[in-house]
């Protein structure tokens, strides 16, 4: 802000600038701010905030098959959702999913980054291979997983391999005891995401000063010790950012669950995260926008709470 203060000092001597002048700010800074930010902010207002406000409005009404409801019900939809066992269990499902997927993706991408970072030849090749799945859509990935790798019949890849070992085929997505479907869901997400976070970690690794490693080598530190005492602490900022992204992404999980587990017209009560449940409440023939929006608001509040807590750690909001 020092720059702004210095610039402001120059004009402060002028007597009473006109209203227009004051609105435009020193050096027309207000005007220029809105020239840069205005088009984006206007679009955001009309096409993001209006729908959000509309959803919020719907959550206080009886809104079956209408977006212009007339029956105000206060907080009843919120009460219904909070006492709905299916919605509550979807929150639990998310929790179980997050507790597993966040650390797993974190460790896998950090591990790959360390391996790639230290590779002396073929480094670019390995980096590309691990990053390539980022280009794939959830639709296509789910297709490969469901129809080719984890198909329940003999010709699926996983069952073919089990067959070589003399093990009977497993119906990966059909059985819930044991819950093999989690294996399918988790591996598809790992495949799609790990490469992206690996790149972030690689960037972090490149910023670590070589002198730190040299000092460590002089002190006799080796292999794992170097990783444990030099590398990992130096990656703290990157790690915090990756954790936040992973968590928010996990909250918004929808695509792979829907594409892998939904069958004709129904979705099982297993592996059903909140967004999938709300999708069936509001967007299906149910068209129950009141309860759907209330559930969405509850979900948003939870995400917000988590993100604010994490954001405190990251200090994302400050300017410099």
């Amino acid at each position: 802000m020092a720059e702004a203060a210095a610039a402001g000092a120059g004009v402060a001597v002028r007597p009473r600038p006109s209203l227009g002048r004051r609105l435009r700010g020193d050096q027309d800074r207000n005007l220029w701010f809105w020239v840069f930010v205005g088009p984006f902010a206007l679009g955001l207002l009309v096409f993001v905030y209006v729908p959000i406000a509309w959803s919020l409005y719907l959550s206080f009404f009886d809104s079956y098959n209408t977006v212009t409801p007339t029956t105000f019900v206060g907080l009843r939809n919120y009460g219904d959702m909070l006492s709905d066992p299916a919605f509550r269990s979807s929150l639990t499902t998310f929790l179980a999913f997050a507790v597993f997927i966040v650390p797993t993706t974190f460790v896998a991408s950090l591990g790959l980054a360390l391996l790639v970072h230290r590779a002396r030849f073929l480094q670019t090749f390995f980096r590309s291979v691990f990053f390539l799945p980022t280009a794939c859509s959830y639709v296509v990935a789910a297709l490969i997983w469901k129809m080719s790798i984890f198909s329940g019949v003999r010709f699926g890849l996983a069952n073919t391999i089990l067959g070589w070992l003399g093990i009977e085929p497993v119906a990966w997505l059909s059985v819930v005891q044991p819950p093999w479907y989690w294996l399918v869901i988790v591996t598809v997400r790992l495949w799609l995401q790990v490469g992206f976070y690996m790149i972030l970690f690689l960037a972090g690794l490149q910023r670590i000063s070589p002198t730190l490693y040299e000092a460590a080598a002089v002190d006799g530190a080796q292999g794992f010790q170097v990783t444990r005492y030099i590398t990992v602490p130096q990656l703290r900022a990157t790690s915090a950012a990756v954790l936040l992204l992973l968590l928010v992404n996990a909250f918004q999980a929808f695509d792979e669950f829907y594409n892998l587990l939904a069958t004709s017209g129904q979705y099982p009560p297993y592996g059903r995260p909140p967004l999938v449940y709300l999708y069936y409440v509001a967007l299906g023939q149910g068209q129950d926008f009141g309860h759907g929006s209330a559930g969405a608001v509850i979900l948003t509040l939870i995400i917000g709470l988590v993100a604010v807590l994490q954001g405190r750690v990251l200090r994302l909001g400050g300017r410099d």
Binding site: Y138, S264, Q285
Partner: protein, 438 residues
């Protein structure tokens, strides 16, 4: 549960590609791109309800029928309509959701098909118009159960297009080889499935969820019960026989004789035609493909009765043609529905039997359906008449169906107690009945 009431619940695969942070629907923008709009059809919404030739413009919507040629056929019917210019829209997936969202706006369909007619909330929300009287003299020629299903408080809200049904198909030769007769009770079915299971072939396929999605209704009817009581005022299966029937589905699931995890679901004949199973629960529409794969070597039957003496059952439904209350020209749209689905019997016959197999909704037309007059297809028609049940009652709402499906999943796939799960379903259904029936 978008497809709860669909007569032919095929996998619609509403695959969603919203990727992480970069939400796709979050934001829409100002008219900066107005110049590159390239309006691809549909014409002006709301205004000037006339087509290029001065006739009323009518937008007619279908879900994607899987059989090739169907889309071209319905486009042909639309073109042949003399009193309007009809454009057909064909949705590869997500049809139910798209219709439901589009009915909220003025740019939705004028005429659209919906599984078993409009939902109770569409009717109570006044999104569809009353079609009473549209059938005229033909009223008595339509299958009565279908008309009844699409009627609410004495008013007709849709015209049935074609009758669809689900049924069991079996390979005669495999049953003979195993020394098994087509089962007449659920216990016989369990035994037969076990006997038919070999190293390479499973006994039965009823969907990758183990039949949870499609066998719940048949199991109830085969126990002499239904979702709701006959006048749709109370929960219909608070009964030990329902619990017993659901428990049998659990036994089937864990028996090892059920095929699970096939690449295509129950609505597709490929598990059966690829020889992966000896019996499959599927739809009438698959019979042409099965006939091609195993000419003469297959038979059809109903879902067997729960105990000896109980009658077997098959679900019967129909897509109904509805007119949106926001149609640009309601009268013209009604006239088109009457023309196509009441008067044009030759087109109805073509639609019913030239692509997938369906049964015409008009009895006089059904009698002319030559492909349904012999062999297993004819047996299937008999099943409709003798064992058919409307798929789900009008007042069995999507919320009821979710509760039903959740409970059945827990019973069949994780061994939950049927009686307790039925009690949970009843709680939800009672509340919904109070909401829509009260």
């Amino acid at each position: 549960m978008t497809s709860s009431s669909r007569p032919t619940p095929r996998p619609t695969s509403t695959t969603i590609g919203r990727r992480g942070f970069l939400g796709l629907a979050g934001a829409l923008g100002a008219g900066a791109l107005a110049a590159c709009g390239g309006n691809t059809g549909r014409g002006d919404s709301g205004s000037g309800a006339t087509g290029s030739n001065g006739k009323p413009a009518i937008a007619q919507w279908y879900h994607a029928y899987g059989e090739s040629g169907t889309q071209q056929a319905v486009e042909g019917y639309a073109k042949a309509y003399p009193d309007g210019s009809v454009t057909v829209k064909w949705f590869p997936s997500g049809y139910d959701n798209t219709v439901a969202s589009a009915l909220l706006t003025a740019t939705g369909p004028d005429v659209f098909e919906n599984g078993n007619g409009p939902s109770i909330d569409m009717i109570q929300g006044k999104q569809v118009v009353d079609l009473t009287g549209i059938l005229g003299d033909a009223q008595s020629d339509f299958t009565p159960s279908l008309i009844e299903r699409m009627t609410y408080q004495g008013k007709l809200y849709a015209v049935p297009q074609v009758t669809d049904m689900q049924l069991m198909v079996y390979r005669k030769s495999l049953l003979e080889k195993a020394g098994v007769q087509p089962p007449t009770t659920v216990d016989e079915l369990l035994a037969a499935a076990k006997k038919l299971t070999t190293d390479k072939v499973k006994g039965l396929f009823a969907g990758n969820d183990g039949g949870v999605g499609v066998l719940g209704g048949p199991m109830l009817w085969s126990a002499g019960l239904d979702y709701l009581n006959s006048d749709q005022t109370a929960f219909g299966f608070d009964d030990p026989k329902a619990a017993e029937g659901f428990a049998k589905l659990r036994t089937l699931f864990t028996s090892g004789s059920l095929l699970l995890g096939a690449p295509a679901d129950w609505s597709d004949p490929s598990a059966f035609t690829q020889g992966l199973v000896a019996m499959q629960w599927t739809g009438l529409w698959t019979l042409p493909a099965i006939e091609k794969a195993f000419p003469g070597d297959y038979g059809v039957m109903a879902w067997p009765g729960l105990a000896s003496g109980d009658k077997g059952s098959v679900p019967v439904g129909a897509y109904g043609s509805c007119v949106s209350a926001k149609a640009k020209d309601v009268e013209a749209s009604k006239a088109f529905v009457k023309w196509l689905w009441v008067d044009q019997t030759d087109k109805q016959l073509d639609f019913a039997q030239s692509y997938g197999f369906h049964i015409p909704a008009r009895k006089s037309v059904a009698q002319k359906a030559s492909k349904l007059s012999s062999g297993p297809a004819a047996d299937a028609v008999t099943l409709v008449n003798e064992n058919g049940h409307a798929q789900t009652p009008l007042l069995w709402t999507p919320k009821c169906q979710t509760a039903f499906s959740d409970g059945l999943n827990r019973i069949v796939r994780s061994g939950a107690d049927p009686t307790a799960e039925i009690a949970t379903m009843k709680t939800v259904a009672d509340a919904e009945l109070k909401r829509v029936g009260g």
